[in-house]
């Protein structure tokens, strides 16, 4: 039979939100194709109880394959999915946005000699086949991707697939024994999910002042904290500066960080790479300050200021304080 197989990432007993979005989308497409949406999870069986997996039926999954295996690494999942596709005859495999989905999807494409499309924002059915739409060239164009292989791999962009409860009943849970390839077991997790830096809360803030590499140094965040204080908001950061240790991971926006949609998002010294954009493009008002007039962030900001943030931010803080009568 044909069908759509979706990978669901989990951590500490919870299924990833982007994975649930992919399951919802997979179920929608499967029903349009007249087939079923199946899900695969890989991990420690104790952390994947029947009720959690059966509950994926609410998002439209008909069956969940549970494979005992290493967690948080891509290659064991490639083995599991390749095995399930080969016996189950699935025509498409899908992933929600995220780092692991990119790695698994690409590895699986190699294994199955399948076409792969990443950063997918929309999938539609045409003549009984799935067509994936992805933005290209810094989102200045979109392209429709048609698969010319037995299996098509669809890797969603972060937050592209909406989470939808279909009101379906429990999914069937089936344990599968996976024959892991030797190379898949030659990378081992030493520590997973280490939180670096303070545990700050940015998700409840109506106003976010975000800093990127353009701040020049860690101390650059002090001026942003003062501006955030004056505006009554919180401070966020890009991955580049979090990786550099300038600001806590808990404040990171984008691909492997938080997704936010505040009333005001002020980006200081942020170029606006896609991985950042996907985590904040839903903000009501986007203001960008950057000295490079070609920075991609100006393509999707409502107000762009081309200039030196070291000059502008302190003066803006003073002006906001004066205006708000603080």
């Amino acid at each position: 039979m044909s069908g759509i197989l979706v990978y669901a990432l989990h951590y500490e007993g919870q299924i990833n939100k982007n994975s649930l979005g992919a399951v919802s989308e997979g179920a929608r497409l499967a029903s349009e194709l007249g087939t079923e949406c199946h899900v695969v999870v890989v991990g420690d069986k104790a952390g994947l109880p029947d009720d959690v997996l059966a509950g994926l039926g609410r998002y439209g999954a008909a069956k969940v394959y549970r494979a005992e295996g290493p967690e948080g690494l891509a290659q064991p999942v490639v083995d599991a999915m390749a095995q399930i596709v080969q016996s189950g005859g699935h025509e498409y495999v899908m992933f929600g946005g995220g780092l692991l989905g990119f790695e698994i999807g690409a590895g699986l494409a190699a294994r199955l000699d399948a076409g792969v499309c990443m950063e997918v924002t929309e999938v539609k059915v045409e003549d009984g086949k799935l067509v994936a739409r992805r933005p290209i060239l810094q989102d200045s164009q979109v392209s429709d991707v048609h698969y010319r292989s037995g299996v098509g791999v669809i890797i969603g962009r972060l937050n592209a697939f909406e989470l939808r409860e279909t009101g379906g009943g429990d999914a069937a849970v089936e344990d599968v024994q996976v024959d892991y390839a030797p190379h898949s077991l030659r990378a081992t997790m030493v520590e997973r999910g280490e939180q670096r830096g303070a545990d700050v809360n940015i998700e409840d803030a109506d106003i976010l002042i975000a800093g990127g590499r353009g701040l020049g140094k860690a101390e650059g965040f002090e001026a942003l904290e003062e501006l955030a204080g004056a505006l009554g908001g919180a401070v966020a950061a890009t991955r580049a500066v979090v990786d550099a240790g300038w600001y806590p991971y808990a404040a990171q926006i984008g691909q492997t960080g938080k997704t936010v949609a505040p009333k005001l998002y002020l980006a200081a010294g942020i170029s606006g790479a896609i991985q950042h954009k996907v985590g904040m493009q839903g903000s009501d008002n986007i203001v960008a300050i950057n000295k490079d007039s070609n920075a991609p962030i100006f393509e999707f900001s409502d107000l762009g200021i081309v200039g030196d943030l070291n000059k502008i931010v302190p003066k803006l803080t003073e002006a906001v304080k004066a205006r708000r009568g603080a």
């Binding site: 780092l99 164009q141 990378a187 520590e191």
Partner: protein
Amino acid sequence: MKICVLVKEVPDAAVEKRINPSTGRLDRSGERNLNPFDTHAIEAAMQLKEGGAIDVDEVVAVTMGPETAVRALHKAVSLGADRSRHLTDDALAGSDVNGTGYALAKVLEAEQPDLVLLGQQSDDGECYTIGAVVADHLRMPSLTQVINIEVEDGKLRCERQAEYGYDTVLVELPAVISVGDAINEPRYPSLKAIMGAKKKPLESVSAADAGIEADRVGYDNARAHCADFAAPPAKSAGQIIEDEDTNETVEKIVAWLDERKLLA
């Protein structure tokens, strides 16, 4: 041991990229340069070589691309690679991710590297996936977006940020590792290295030389076929202020925020 670094020639950041409507492929005319993300992979190779924790005999730069891609190899060599290998063949033009990863893996198979390094993404194609494709073909463990590598008992202790925070993964060699740009600050090549780059060994190989099956590469054999290019729904352009007089700029920002009731 031998490290192979995968590099790519991409349009210069200042060149406006566009799709050629008649071919449906990226218009690759104009200034071109070494993919900036790749310089971090070369630097990571050099730091392993110079670090002494593991014996590195040779760093080899490998690329696939048209004749002009030689310049990317020269740049890679000027940054420290000992020699380079250029997979070039008209039959490879227009390959998708699947075909490109397969073709590169065939070249790497012949080199038998202990470690393959690459940058986290290409500046033009916006995909982060070639490393995982190559690794599956080579049957090597793999990790992408690594921001720290330490040698530990002949294995690599790698750190990277993933969905739930920072992961530390121990990877056995041989392996394929893609590095994030936070991993290092690439060095600038010396004038001497730039001048000497063209004298370092560079071997050109065709698809047939590398044992690449013709029906797995090239535009016509792409498993994922891109078509129907279109402009996305237009977002109304934002207002732009060039900061000349900062006091005036700040006044305009405050007024703008005020209008939207963001200073309440």
